[in-house]
């Protein structure tokens, strides 16, 4: 761990010094306030009640003055309470569980790949190597159209998949929350690669017969971080509209985007992306406050699109044969690291305790003034959050973030296990990971959760949630039949 002090990290004494320092800085206000209050109390006791009454009488108070002051106080209080941003609560969410018949074991995937790419054994070998090291398990699912030999990615099949995933997630959400379709005021659907006309949000409105004055939005093309962008949009809308319910549907439709060419950089998404979706209910209604699971604390969005390399690192284009695919550049991890650093710089001051911020500030001043060779201090985010949900974009992403943020294996367990069981479900993977943490019984009242997602552009978005009530394990979630088998050990390379 890069430190400003010499490395005594194994020393127990240093641990206690650190703890003492943190306690001191984080509670400095209390520590200053307590002696002052004690001093005042002693002074008051010393003076005695008669002296205080005399003091009171010497202050000549006019009636007008009293009225004005009280009005002023009331006025300031009202302005304060009115301008406070409305709290946004996450009442509940539902993740889509694909049917077992859509399962794609590694052997089946490789066989299909061989049959379809029979003239390109090198591309097949490449896919096999990716799959071996991917961190996926044998239970991830692809939509029915991709199971055909050869796959039939028609628009009808894509709509079919969209209906299957979105309607199942919505039905589950409506059942869990008891929400009536006519009570939905805001609807946001995000699906990056499939954008039919009418939009997917129109499809939801049609199916559930939502109100005609609903505020609906359909976000497409925004990549795997679109889920958090939708949450951000919902939050902003809920500031403007009081007493409202917002439903956010995050999904990625795989059917139309199964790359059927031979370009290696474009075959990678085929190996990793899998079927999945989630529907989330956000609300600013008072009566949802007690039954909501989480409260949204912060959403921080960082966009590195101004940099050309970042802009082109996840790019949808045609290959030499004219087949469309998403090409991932080789410096994806480096760019992701940069984007993450940007995001952390913004979110750090919002969430880190004073002790960490002070250390960071001091290191920063030190590097600028004294010695630029000092290693930058990486704040310890484990003190700001109890749980981490890192977008399960791939094994490399999770490894990189674990290293950069110095997280333990347990912190990234939710991400790794979601990647293993469900694959990369794009924007909805964060919700599968939350569900995992809840089903393991680890989510307690007051816990803070950090969701990080990366997306094409290149974007890094974060959301911070605070748990509102201790969450009990349930049976109607995608992990219910397999949670007992997890966590599993995922080998570095799975021999095919």
């Amino acid at each position: 761990m890069p430190q400003t002090l010499p490395d005594f990290s194994n020393s127990v004494k240093l641990k206690y010094v650190k703890l003492g320092y943190q306690y001191l800085v984080n509670h400095i206000l209390y520590l200053l306030l307590v002696p002052i209050m004690v001093a005042i109390l002693i002074e008051v006791l010393r003076l005695g009640p008669d002296e205080i009454l005399n003091l009171w009488k010497s202050l000549h108070f006019d009636l007008v003055q009293i009225l004005c002051s009280s009005f002023l106080i009331i006025f300031i209080a009202t302005v304060y309470f009115m301008s406070k941003p409305r709290h946004v609560y996450l009442v509940d969410y539902a993740c889509y569980k694909p049917p077992v018949t859509c399962r794609v074991p590694f052997a089946t995937f490789m066989e299909h790949s061989r049959l379809i790419l029979k003239n390109n054994p090198k591309s097949v070998e490449f896919q096999m190597r990716i799959l071996e090291r991917s961190g996926l398990g044998e239970e991830t699912c692809l939509p029915p159209a991709i199971h055909y030999i050869p796959p039939t990615p028609t628009m009808e099949a894509a709509r079919g998949e969209a209906e299957l995933v979105i309607f199942s997630a919505m039905d589950s959400l409506l059942q869990k929350t008891g929400l009536k379709p006519k009570d939905i005021d805001i609807l946001i659907v995000n699906c990056s690669l499939f954008s039919p006309t009418p939009s997917l949000s129109a499809m939801v409105i049609n199916k559930y017969k939502l109100r005609s004055n609903i505020k609906s939005f359909n976000l497409s093309g925004m990549g795997c971080s679109a889920g958090l962008i939708s949450i951000d949009l919902a939050r902003d809308l809920l500031q403007v509209h009081p007493n409202s319910n917002a439903v956010v549907v995050s999904t990625e439709i795989i059917t139309p985007n199964y790359y059927q060419g031979n370009e290696r950089a474009m075959l990678l998404p085929n190996c990793l992306f899998r079927m999945g979706g989630a529907a989330i209910l956000l609300s600013n209604r008072r009566r949802n406050r007690s039954r909501a699971k989480y409260r949204l604390v912060h959403v921080v969005r960082t966009h590195k699109g101004a940099d050309d390399k970042a802009y082109r690192c996840v790019f949808e284009e045609e290959d030499k044969e004219g087949k469309v695919g998403i090409s991932l550049s080789k410096d994806l991890m480096a760019i992701a690291g940069e984007a993450l650093k940007s995001n952390i710089t913004t979110i750090g001051p919002l969430v880190l305790p004073a002790s960490e911020q002070l250390l960071f500030l001091m290191t920063l001043i030190g590097r600028k003034i004294f010695n630029p060779k000092w290693k930058p201090y990486i704040p310890d985010f484990k003190q700001a959050f109890e749980h981490f949900c890192i977008h399960a974009g791939g094994r490399a992403v999770i490894d990189e973030l674990q290293k950069n943020l110095q997280l333990s294996a347990e912190h990234v367990e939710a991400s790794r296990m979601t990647l293993h069981r469900f694959g990369n479900t794009s924007s909805s993977s964060l919700w599968y990971e939350m569900s995992y943490i809840e089903e393991k019984g680890r989510m307690k009242k007051g816990d803070r959760v950090w969701q990080i997602a990366f997306g094409s552009g290149f974007k890094c978005n974060s959301a911070v949630w605070k748990c509102n009530k201790t969450i009990k394990t349930t049976t109607d979630n995608p992990w219910s039949d397999c949670i007992d088998r997890y966590p599993v050990h995922i080998p570095e390379i799975v021999k095919l």
């Binding site: 077992v100 049959l115 030999i149």
Partner: protein, 437 residues
Amino acid sequence: MITYICKRTVVSTKPAQAGKCNPLSVFDRLMEKNHIRIVYYFPSTRNGEPGVVTKKLRESLSHVLTCFPIVTGRLQKKDDGHWMIKCNDAGVRMVEARTQGSVEEWLKNVNRDKELMLVTWEDMFHKPYFWATFYVQLTEFEEGGLAIGFSCSHLLADPTSATMFVKAWADTTLAGTMLAPPFFHPLPPPRLGNKNPNHNPYTDLINHYKSTIDDRSPAFTNNITNYVTATLAFSGPMVQACMLDTSRPSPFEAMAGLLWVCVSKVKGMKQGLISMSICLDMRKQLGLDKGFFGNCLVYNKVHHAESLLDKSELSEAARAVGESVTKMNNERIMDLIEWLEHHDYEFPPLMNGHDLICANLEDLDPYATLFEEGFVPIRVSYYVEPVFGIGQILVLQSPPSEGPLSRMVMVTLPADELSKLCDDDLILRFNPTILMG
């Protein structure tokens, strides 16, 4: 005409245990060159919407495959050069098709070529690790009815096992559970200890296998003969009459004898009978459970004495068959297994490539395969492909409505010989109904 809708792979619902491998037995390895095809015809069901039945069957197939990891695995060669199945969960291939008309219409004018179009099959790939060993085709008839075509490599299953698999699939569709779970076990091991030094292994059976294995005659490299299959249905009383004529207690022996004589005549044998081998299921003799999954069919040449009078030729033929059947007992089969274990061969033989083969598939019970309550298969046809040499006779059960003694015989011969057979006097004496051919 059949319209093919799609081809896909069906996998099990639960992942298979990683790294599990099943070696193939000596009987399995002999059957490398053959494959089995079965067609089940079902009458129209209540649910008339196209695709609904197919979807339901596909889902129940996924469920049943969880219990048959061998079916979803792939072939690989072990270090010693013998085949084994790696249970890697790759799945079975399924083809969905549609055709016009109804099942009943189809059955009225079906022939071998048409029937084989209802079963999809792909010969072994150059790299067998990526070759599916089991195939299922579901053909929905637009005006009612369903044909399920099931094919598999003979390396992994014999007709008994194949029928058992489809029955397990039907049970899972109907009730959600299998009535007879499969039994994956190697063949009984060679006996140790009580080796009688004077014990003379039954050389006839072993010789038959030896000559088949060593036979590199061009019979099975030359496949220009146009084979045709006919299905003859013999009613219960007729089978009984045949049994009385030949004074044999078993319908198979009587039928086998009858067909042996007739085919010999048709082939132009003035005296004596052509060389024939019978093929029997040896599960009971080896003490194996009925659910034993794998090959357990043993071939044995039938030896006969020359006979002069026509009438007694039939009884003599049936008697010879009966004698062959009795000779296939536990001890002799165990000797055969031992001999096969120690006798490696470079090229896999074609067990049905030379003699006329007469296989006893009476006990398979395919009509108990019900995918929906009350819908018994109208007909079930079996094919053991490819057919070479003289020809092939499969003695099968008839639909239960015909009675327990009635039999259905599927005869595969060159086209001109088959037409002569259907006009033969001796056959016509037993009044068979020609269902196909």
